[in-house]
Amino acid sequence: MGSTTDAAERFFVGTDVGGTFTDLVVLQDGRPPRLFKAPTTPHDRSEGVVAALSLAAASYGMDLNAFCGSIVYFAHGTTAATNALIERKGTPTALLTTHGFTDTMLIQRSMTSWVGLGAATGHYSRRRNPAPIVARDRIAGVTERIDATGTEVVALDEQEVRGLLRRLRAEGVQALAVAFLWSFVNGAHETAVERIVAEEWPEAYLTLSHQVAPVIGEYERSATTVVNSYLGPVIRDYVANLEGRLRANGFDGDFSIMDSGGGVMRAEDAARRAASMLTSGPAGGVLASVSLARRLGHTEVITSDMGGTSFDVGLIIGGQPLVERVGEVGDLHLALPRIKVTAIGAGGGSVARVDEAGVLVVGPESAGSVPGPACYGRGGDRPTVTDADVVLGIIDPARFLGGRMPLERSLAEKAILVHVAGPLGLSVEEAAAGIRRVADNQMADLLRKVTVEQGHDPRDFTVYAYGGAGPTHAYAYTEAAGISTLVVPPTSTVHSAYGTVTSDRYRAVQTTDVQRTPPGAPDPAVHLDTARINATLGELTRRCRADLDDDPRVRLTRIAYLKFRRQSHELPLPVPDGEVTAGVLRELIEEFRDAYERVYGAGTALLAAGVELHTLRVEGRVRVTDVTEGAYPGSADPAESLLGSRQVHFPETGRVATAVYRGDGLGAGAELRGPAILEFPGTTVVIGPGQLLTVDRYSNLVIDCKGDS
């Protein structure tokens, strides 16, 4: 770490800028993490970050400058990239592509009419073509062609390229994307354009498809290239602004940005890899869960993040986060490996209503943070899940957000009465309980769905819950999904921020190099070209190391994607270190067959069809934050944290006297049986009737949701 600070005060800070709150966590050797929240400032997000830093400085009894001067490492996740893409507020960008294929980005493999419509895809009158991020007249066809084998069919017309660059520059374009057919096999034409741009227009922001996404599939590759150029200058300015503000306040340490692929990158790399920042917030939460899972010895985990508007679910399988090769963001499909997170519109702000047929519906519509739930008293008059929690006694209106934002129970009751209880002929309390049951069961259904889709049984998993509303509802959705163990980590309210600071520095480089074995071959391995595989892996390794500054501590993972021919499912398999020989490939294919049958069922492996080796990837990781967290304070005797008791409605028991505890008073070894409420400054944790809570030695709340009843 490049810091000269006094060793006694070495802070590692993680931050995550969400839509409503800017979360911050401070780590220190031998001390427990401290958590902070400040409102997000959308006009200039760095203001909210500094506000959160000020809260932290005050908590440590330091002035802002002294505090920032003691930060040796600052890690940052932000929705800035995602928002710029969704709101189409990127840099004016042009796309140069192969002549004849200028409509690829518009056609979107025919997904253009339904992408982003969610559950409304069956409502045809609402179909539309998404707003393009590059206008059609800024997509230019270039005379050039390379075929599937990488052979040049038509030479690049360099004069034409120069003419196009002059025209686009004159039109006010600032960023360029170059995506030619088959460039991931032969990048010569794209590289030639790079040279011409350097000569003609060196200040243009430029992304080449074979560099940012060297994989087969021109639509997804082009989209990734365009998005990277579209966001690059925006992110460059964002990072410069934030870094400037931090430095102005005395920060002198290292600065990293979250990469949704699986770690952090240096802030100075972020402008080059802007597309990798998309949806990095949810990825941060999953990564924080991965390190927690490692610590707790859990290999199969469902991560669940319930906030104000959405419920985000990720999977950890075999200790590794589930990664998708192609994901959908901002109505586009991007070929960047990303930690897979599946979301539904279920959060504290989800609106409950009774439809014309008398059916109680909760979400996906959300009251958001403005006006927010009715009980916020900001003018919202429609009942939400949070309103139900208040009416049922789960959330104490006086102590919401540590008492900083008192809620109005009467407004919650009124909204539920008018919109749900009245129409259904129920009492307000019954209606509130109904809203909760509907929401909790929807979330349980999503937990089941994401695991079944991956060929797993949810009952083999542990649930981790975080986000503002997650710990409040997790006891119910975990139980409803048939899962026994639930873990609420002490960092649950700022889990994504915690993920940014605890994640490794990460770089993945990949390429598609398709090799197929003939159908019916008795020994498929001998039909794969080991020399080619070794050369490709060698080159990927070199690039990955170089991108990580040839750091000697780098840990490399080599991954090959295999599939059966004429089958759609592909699986990533680790390639062992050392030279890849026919023997190694034989074992790899065996493993692939076994893994395929583990995921998709015995007898599903179609080895006779032949095997296709698809994409090769090398991932590098370097440990950044080396902190041994100290234990949180707290007592093993819950009685010391007992605040009192209040009436809380549970579906199983109805209204029942429920003990209420100050959550951060509970220390390692504490045990209690539900029903119980644990109040934390940023969340309320619920232990259902009969469920058993144990606080482990890291202050994780471990809840046996089945209890013994």
Partner: protein, 729 residues
């Protein structure tokens, strides 16, 4: 237990769970199958059914299977209850088109779910299998003249007996397919999907009780039925008529039997019911284009669900207000031994198009539902299958799916969506160019949006995707093409809109394409030298040599409203985008371009005024009736340019300009100015019109606005497309 005994919270929790179970079923099916038909084209479906076979919940995949699943469940009950019996752990396989599947490639597996010894429900799964035998690989048997040439067709057959697979039946099925390994996995996928549902439903019944679960299933069906009936009740009673033409009947290209056939729908809406009557359709034909009753029902379902039931759970309830009539032996209710393997993409397709047209015109009778009405979506695809010697010299077959990327139809409030794809697939995908080039001996020269392909109108049909291919790195390459919509515009416009593009295919043999590429030039089709043979809709198999080029343009959705009413600045935007070519903007939209190629607003206004004046002089068949003297009061719309008005105590069909055509009891077309067009090029991107057909344009004698452009047989009566029932005010 009665319907009201379920509290609304439990209802909602179980409702969501039932849909989640169908999701889990679908995920299981896709996971085990792994076939591209299932995983990418999403040509599969799953569901949960009441003990009588009624669909309570279904997967959101291909719409056409929604009616099939109920039909095959009922076939199982009817054929198997006595013998061999229906017992716990049994599963029954069905792919006979006369037992409920759309064609034999769609194989369904149905399983009873027992709880505490009692039949709780049924579950089922169906997927399109890559080959079930028959005379053609892939089992779309273009040359078939009867169903016995179309592969294995199983009536309900017990495949799993008390939890144990009947290996003898399993082997019998595998013995009939060219792709036993893939079909083996598909069969396992169906079994796995059903097991997922059986486990989940049994757990649900254990938690809530079988009665409660069944009641929720029943209530779901009632809920959908109620929602559709309420919607129908708010629409005026009407009789609607649509006729679609099916040119060519299969592998009989050039024969005298290869005529233009009709799918004819009269839809009557009374109160809260719909009556689909296809009795006026052509008799079944010799080729593979027929569909059985199941194919007709699939077409109706695919039209109805997204048009009038977009916000209701998709289940059996939506068919309760529906009655369907069609005598056996017609092209859309063919009886054995008619060939039906292509029917889903042929007669069944046009069943869907006619139903979309009638339902749209019905919806357009209401201000509330006008936004759900659309012109006719793209007609059927020009199927493209390639065979050639691949690696190891083995012959490979490649199905090229570019033909599916068709433009959507226009709506009143918006242009059609470009490359929307098949109307009956909710979430369509096609392959990347690179994926096709990696697999097959083709090199694309172009793949993009086709200007002018969307039907013209005040709002325009969406653009379709065309492609140009040349052979690259293959040997002995042959192509097989088969299309309707070749000499017939299937994707007709609505309320004066023009038809969208027809299927077009150009082949250039022995061209100079390779020389041009080598010279550093990516040529267009027009500039290539070489021989250009006359192509037919059902071209069948033909050779593609190394220097040959193939160019295709699929059909595209129709336009909405008079193209003259497309504002000049919208036409300018179309020109800027490239959606419309300058030639078409002048020929079809009648704008005037200045020397820079920009739309000249003033000159356009004046030209269009002249065109309208000409149209006012078109002869009407009947002299205008005595028109009402009093003020006109609008009652409801008929689209957004015609409306029903009341005057002097009677109801009239009137143009929004105030011209009253006729009392609503009479058709209005005889009172409109009429011009018949034989040159399709005048109105659309298409180039061919069967010599038996013509287009008839009907204009308002008052203002010169076009209200209809119909495709009819020469000499036929005027189309009476929308007649309100119930008459007098």
């Amino acid at each position: 237990m009665t319907a009201t005994a379920i509290d609304p919270v439990t209802f909602e929790v179980i409702r969501h769970r039932l849909l989640a179970i169908t999701d889990e079923q679908g995920a299981t099916l896709a996971a085990i199958s792994g076939s591209t038909h299932v995983v990418e084209a999403s040509d599969y479906n799953v569901g949960l059914y009441l003990p009588d076979g009624s669909v309570a919940a279904m997967g959101r995949t291909i719409l056409s299977h929604s009616s099939s699943m109920a039909a095959i469940t009922r076939s199982v009950i009817e054929d198997c209850a006595e013998d061999p019996g229906i017992n716990p752990g049994d599963m029954f396989i069905v792919n006979d088109p006369w037992k409920g599947t759309v064609h034999a490639q769609d194989v369904g597996l149905i399983a009873p779910i027992f709880h505490e010894g009692e039949l709780l429900a049924w579950t089922g799964a169906m997927c399109h299998m890559v080959d079930v035998g028959g005379m053609t690989p892939g089992s779309f048997c273009i040359d078939a003249t009867d169903s016995y040439q179309e592969g294995l067709q199983m009536p309900p057959t017990k495949l799993v007996d008390g939890g144990k697979v009947r290996t003898d039946v399993w082997n019998l099925i595998l013995a009939h397919t060219r792709m036993p390994a893939t079909v083996n996995l598909d069969l396992r996928a169906l079994v796995g999907a059903n097991n997922t549902a059986i486990r989940a439903m049994t757990a649900l019944a254990a938690k809530y009780g079988a009665g409660v679960v069944r009641t929720v299933m029943g209530n779901l069906i009632e809920l959908s039925e109620r929602r559709l009936r309420n919607r129908l009740a708010r629409l005026p009673d009407a009789r609607l008529h649509s006729r679609a033409f099916l040119d060519n009947d299969g592998g009989l290209a050039g024969s005298a039997e290869n005529a233009v056939h009709e799918v004819d729908l009269v839809l009557t809406k009374r109160g809260d019911t719909l009556h689909f009557d296809y009795s006026g359709s052509s008799p079944q034909v010799k080729g593979y284009v027929n569909c059985a009753y199941s194919g007709m029902m699939a077409g109706i379902a695919a039209a109805l669900l997204p048009t009038l039931a977009y916000d209701a759970p998709w289940n059996e309830g939506l068919f309760k207000p529906v009655r369907v009539d069609c005598p056996e032996g017609l092209i859309c209710n063919a009886v054995r031994p008619a060939a039906v393997s292509g029917g889903a993409l042929e007669a069944g397709w046009l069943v869907e198009m006619t139903a979309v047209e009638c339902l749209s015109k019905l919806a357009a009778c209401s201000d509330e539902l006008l936004g759900e009405a659309q012109a006719v979506p793209a007609g059927g695809p020009d199927k493209f299958v390639l065979t050639g010697a691949g690696e190891n010299g083995a012959r490979q077959t490649y199905v090229i799916m570019d033909c599916l990327a068709t433009g959507g139809a226009a709506y009143a409030h918006r242009d059609g969506v470009w490359t929307q794809g098949q109307h009956n697939i909710e979430r369509q995908k096609i392959s990347n160019v690179e994926a096709v080039e990696m697999d097959s001996p083709l090199l694309y020269l172009w793949r993009g949006l086709v200007p002018d392909s969307g039907g013209a109108g005040r709002t325009r049909g969406g653009l379709s995707m065309g492609a140009v291919y040349t052979v690259h790195g293959g040997r002995d390459v042959s192509a097989l093409n088969s299309a309707h919509g070749w000499a017939v515009p299937n994707s007709t416009g609505i309320f004066g809109g023009y038809p969208g593009a027809q299927n077009t295919r150009t082949v250039v043999h022995d061209s100079d394409v390779k020389a041009r590429l080598a010279a550093g030039h990516l040529p267009s089709v027009a500039e290539l030298s070489g021989e250009r043979p006359v192509m037919r809709g059902r071209q069948g198999l033909y050779r593609l040599g190394d220097d040959d080029v193939l160019a295709t343009v699929p059909q595209a959705g129709g336009g909405w409203g008079d193209p003259l009413e497309r504002p000049a600045d919208h036409v300018q935007a179309d020109l800027d985008f490239g959606a419309v070519t300058p030639g078409a903007s002048e020929r079809i939209y009648r704008v005037v371009l200045d020397p820079e190629g920009r739309v000249d607003q003033a000159a356009t206004e004046s030209l269009r005024a002249g065109v309208r004046a000409e149209r006012r002089d078109w002869p009407a068949e009947k002299a205008p009736p005595d028109r009402p003297a009093g003020p006109l009061t609008r009652i409801h719309p008929l689209g957004d340019a015609l409306e029903v008005v009341e005057a002097d105590g009677a109801r009239w069909t009137a143009c929004t300009c105030g011209f009253a055509f006729a009392p609503v009891q009479e058709p209005w077309r005889p009172y409109a100015g009429l011009r018949a067009v034989q040159d399709i090029r005048e109105l659309s991107h298409a180039t061919r019109l069967d010599e038996d057909l013509e287009l008839r344009c009907y204009a308002c004698p008052g203002c010169g606005r076009l209200h209809a452009v119909d495709v009819v047989r020469r000499g036929a009566d005027h189309l009476d497309d929308l007649r309100l029932l119930g008459g007098e005010a």
